[in-house]
Symmetry: C2
């Protein structure tokens, strides 16, 4: 019996904001497995801001996605057929199969994960996966927060930002989030335990950030860029650190926002470092250990926004880029 697979392809390179018409949804047959291969039925697809960069032609961290190819992305799923001795049917595996219901792998880059009542499969795409590792590597290894310092994180309610803030609290810092809208700000303060949150949509970002950071800013975990970055640069303390993780506010801009106060990096002797998590794999064991302990003990909380079915992935992706999700954006496939 041939299994039907559904896939989302990149149909057009967007100019400015992504449109649903930039994607093309197709059905194909799952090919017969060769020796050494594994067939995985994907349970969840992760949607992440970095994917926007892959849709462009130009230089970004990694090669562009090709037109008419499956959109890339992290997935968690179950093995439904195996001709590889390292994997058995019903194993839960973390893979990088992209926007499709099934994936075939030779086992490389496929990792078995341990699902429990405390750590469900979807967590491996979020708090225990790439976003959680990104938060840990950026904050702990680059940001080097010390107890009593002020840590600010933008996109604070997102999959990365929410972990950054809770990790910083666990390290004894004064933590201020920046997020869009009252609901997100209430969430990070009341549910995640941040000390404060600035709603950048409220119209007085500079004043509110000043009020929330009376002792200035020592670590800024940067996810958004643009005017929020400028507002933070004006509040930096001497020897501040900036892990530069993303610029989500800029990904759909045809003309990037020019930064007016770059000189703050000089005046304050700032350390800034751009990074992508995949280049810091040597830190993953240490990171997974700390994240796992915090999740299992209930100290690291997370939420998921889940779209149902692959057909809804393009709309959910566009919504995430506009900030409509709360916490980790997933697509439930099976």
């Amino acid at each position: 019996m041939t299994i039907k697979n559904k896939q989302v392809l990149l149909a057009n390179r967007p100019h400015g904001w992504v449109q649903e018409s930039d994607f093309n949804i197709v059905e194909t047959d799952v090919p017969a497995l060769k020796d050494g291969e594994v067939l995985v039925k994907n349970l969840y697809l992760s949607l992440d801001p970095y994917m926007r960069g892959r849709m462009n032609e130009g230089k970004s961290y990694a090669a562009s996605s090709q037109l008419n190819e499956v959109m890339v992305g992290g997935t968690v799923g179950v093995v439904v057929e195996s001709k590889n001795p390292n994997f058995q049917v019903d194993d839960t595996v973390l893979g990088y199969f992209g926007w499709q219901n099934y994936g075939v792998s030779d086992g490389k880059g496929l990792n078995k994960v341990s699902v429990s009542s405390q750590i469900p499969a979807s967590a491996y795409l979020g708090v225990m996966g790439m976003p959680g590792l990104t938060a840990w590597v950026g904050l702990i290894s680059i940001g080097q927060p010390k107890a009593g310092e002020t840590v600010v994180v933008s996109a604070a309610s997102g999959a990365v930002g929410s972990v950054v803030g809770q990790l910083a609290k666990a390290h004894g810092c004064h933590v201020v989030g920046i997020a869009g809208g009252k609901a997100k700000c209430d969430y990070v303060v009341n549910e995640l335990g941040f000390d404060a949150c600035v709603d950048y949509k409220a119209g007085h970002l500079v004043e509110d950030l000043t009020t929330a950071t009376p002792n200035g800013i020592d670590v800024y975990f940067e996810n958004v860029g643009g005017e929020i970055l400028e507002a933070v640069l004006d509040r930096l303390n001497a020897h501040a650190r900036i892990p530069l993780c993303g610029f989500v506010s800029q990904y759909n801009e045809t003309t990037p926002h020019s930064v007016r106060n770059f000189g703050a990096l000089l005046i304050n002797r700032v350390k800034l470092q751009g990074f992508i998590v995949g280049e810091h794999a040597e830190l993953f064991p240490q990171a997974m250990q700390e994240l796992g302990q915090l999740v299992a003990s209930g100290k690291l909380k997370y939420r998921e926004t889940v779209a149902e079915g692959l057909d809804n992935a393009p709309r959910a992706f566009i919504g995430m880029l506009k900030g409509e999700n709360l916490g980790k954006q997933l697509v439930k496939l099976a």
Copy 2:
């Protein structure tokens, strides 16, 4: 007999370009020495871009200079009277007496230096002094150049830039300077041994920088900011390092230049660090050893532009900010 001292005071805080009328030159009496004090007759005053920042009211690395106080600055001089057992008449000393012919010190921050035929007193304000140490700390400690990498330095013919380039050559790098005018470019290539130099005044900065850096840029030692910074950001390789030392192109601008391509720091996973040399004193012994060996062996060359007499210091300072000097700008006092 009372000794007459001449001093240059800050008369006005400049708005935009510095004017000679922003300074006031006065004569005062040198006070009688108290126990523990030393009277130094300054031989040379160092003029440096950072002094422009001190003339402003606003926040910079250090406190602003006060109106009607002596302009700050490094000096090298000889002890002419001493009531301090650690210093004797005729000792050559490096101090921070500022823009004046004489200085009185309790000995703190005053350092005896060893003058020889290979290393004259003035060198302790340049290649063996603050600019040389700045070059070493920024390039070696922050830039971490590896043999074969491409190092670019702006203000390449200046007191800091000229040492940066020669140090990078000594470490096996491909070295490209950026300087204003053919004379400066000829100097850094023909006399200092840089591999290439881009004349930013020639009118095709981007094209010339591209030609001079066929393998991209791994380390950028930043002294100037503005459009030169933007041109370099577009040429960075993955994992480039940027020691951020100065923004001399911006110090006299009333509206700073906005940086259009900040995102290059993210895309290329760049490490950028602003620094001031005084905060890295633990590295000075190692730096002085390497600089001293290179100077004594003739491998580290330098030039000085020397103004005669304190009356000419304001004009020389303004000239330096406009790039009229070649190498280290000094004022000969005695």
